[in-house]
Chain length 354, copies 2
Amino acid sequence: MELTERKKRILRAIVETYIATAEPVGSKAVAELAGLDVSTATIRNEMADLTELGLLEQPHTSAGRIPSAAGYRLYVNELMDRQQLTIQETQRINEALNLKMEELDRVIDRAGKVLSQLSDYPVFTVAAAKQRVTVKRFDLLMVEENAFIAVVMTDNSVVKNKLIHLPDQLSDTQLQLLSAVLNTSFVGLSREEMEEALDKMETHTAPGAFELISLVVEFAIEVLDDQGRQKFRTAGITHLLEHPEYRSLDKAKPLMNYLSEENETSRLPMNLNNGKSMNILIGPENVNDALKDTSVVMASYDIGDNMKGIIGVVGPTRMDYAKVTARLSYFADSLTRMFGKELPSGEQEDKEES
Amino acid sequence: MELTERKKRILRAIVETYIATAEPVGSKAVAELAGLDVSTATIRNEMADLTELGLLEQPHTSAGRIPSAAGYRLYVNELMDRQQLTIQETQRINEALNLKMEELDRVIDRAGKVLSQLSDYPVFTVAAAKQRVTVKRFDLLMVEENAFIAVVMTDNSVVKNKLIHLPDQLSDTQLQLLSAVLNTSFVGLSREEMEEALDKMETHTAPGAFELISLVVEFAIEVLDDQGRQKFRTAGITHLLEHPEYRSLDKAKPLMNYLSEENETSRLPMNLNNGKSMNILIGPENVNDALKDTSVVMASYDIGDNMKGIIGVVGPTRMDYAKVTARLSYFADSLTRMFGKELPSGEQEDKEES
DNA sequence: CTTTAGCACTCACATTCCCTGAGTGCTAAA
DNA sequence: TTTAGCACTCAGGGAATGTGAGTGCTAAAG
């Protein structure tokens, strides 16, 4: 059986009205909406064909049709209009993002929140660091005779610091010596290499000096760890409850739990999209069980040259794909542009020990 | 009418079984559970009295009784047992908190999550800074000839930094000069005073130098702002859905929205508890409308000498007060102890400009 | 005076049954 | 190939009914 132009128009009408109403679409509604001058009987025949092709489904014999996963897939691939954002929306987005002086994480968080509000779906964000981060330089600042600030700068231009308290007093010259050791022996090393270098150093260094060195190096390792970590965040989870498919709590609960869990690695299955900058996973196309009845639309963006981020929208398979993709791609573009002009920046920590 | 010992025992039995079952409690159940050797008829008489005293309520004439807000209040004030934590629980809590080297925010977040899991209710946390924070010292570190790191340390021992890019080149001596100006003119000032000082300086300083100064001072102002901000966070909101009173989405949605909104100021109505370290607000005792059918149990803890934090549990009025208060007070004590031995620490930022 | 047994009464909730209407597939004519 | 007509299906809504847990009251017993 062939997929005629008319069948496509009918499919499109069904997908779009189902997206809008969340109720099975009957032949009468299609006859009115598809703009075809044929009777409902003809539509019925066509709909029967589309069902046979696996593009539509019937919840029960005497109900209208709803799109199948394959139907949605065809819709997003061929039939969907590219939507335009309103001026208000672009303004809203720009306002939310263009607040200068914000740290990276906060910008991403804010982006997630606004996107969630604009789309009425939950949004997740992932910021994936580059694989191998190294320390570019160490600086030590004396605060009191028994405390100093360690400043670590990484090769992706992130600077973090920590207030370190010491058991004994320390002189200025000792501090300079320490700084020299750190900057000669631990710069340019990855996390693992640092640990190795530290181990080696232990044997042929005075215990007191070694303790001092390891305090700072351990902090540097933490910094690198933190850089390497994927940061998964979500926003607007409660939007799920607005959609009829999650009115029953049995449906809503697992998904909400999945989204609010913080087991970061389990989310990775939404693999870094293969090349394309926008990726749509419809229902069963998702690997993870919790997402089987759910669609995920995600876009990637660049954070400077080294990092990559993903921002995605989660919703029922009956998702307003046209609306979501339009907003999402605008966000991804804006974020890329934004992190492109300035260098990447990340938050930093300070700690304290005794 | 007098509140006899027997009435109290009956009230207690009703509160506790209602907490466990979420269903109105009838005279028969009380007769069995309260451990009184009287008939159901006697219990009925007593229950009628308790209703008249405003301690119990009847959803409809032919149903059992449920505790009123006043009933819960009496229960938590007089009747409730102080619960003991199991060894596993204390271990779990200690593990979650004793991860060293974590930054303040992350420890608090983690505490919220674990408490939420242990109590099966949503948890919120607030970290309130001390009122007036000032900068204790500035440090500037040259990175390249057109970029340096500004390090700001506040009087509550928080250190933050930012990578600042410049339009033109800058010499080492210029940087030292800048550092001297900052450390003489802007140390010890509050946020407002800093802005003032900066304004004054503008008139009698060379434009180029002023621009440089204001770059750093503006960063310092941000830091102080961030310190002053109350940080409101929530964890485990989805736990709400496990409790029958929120099975209807009309009930759950407003509360979930309220908790996940980030309008931080609107939450303040839960005023810094008046002296006592643990505070329980039952149903209508809450000022905020979204919480009228909800109970809030909160405890405060100290973050070093200057800051104060609140950690609280939100749930239906039918909340397991005994369980929650036990765990909550353990958390608050642990947090106080934890932030007590080390000095307070907060996360910090780095930014970048061109 | 307190407690208890007995009894009639109330009312939410579940079950059943029926009806309605939207929507279908099929057939036969255009 | 399209259309009109028709019998059929089935989910959802509403009314009717039954059930049972629980109550308040009364009168007798302790």
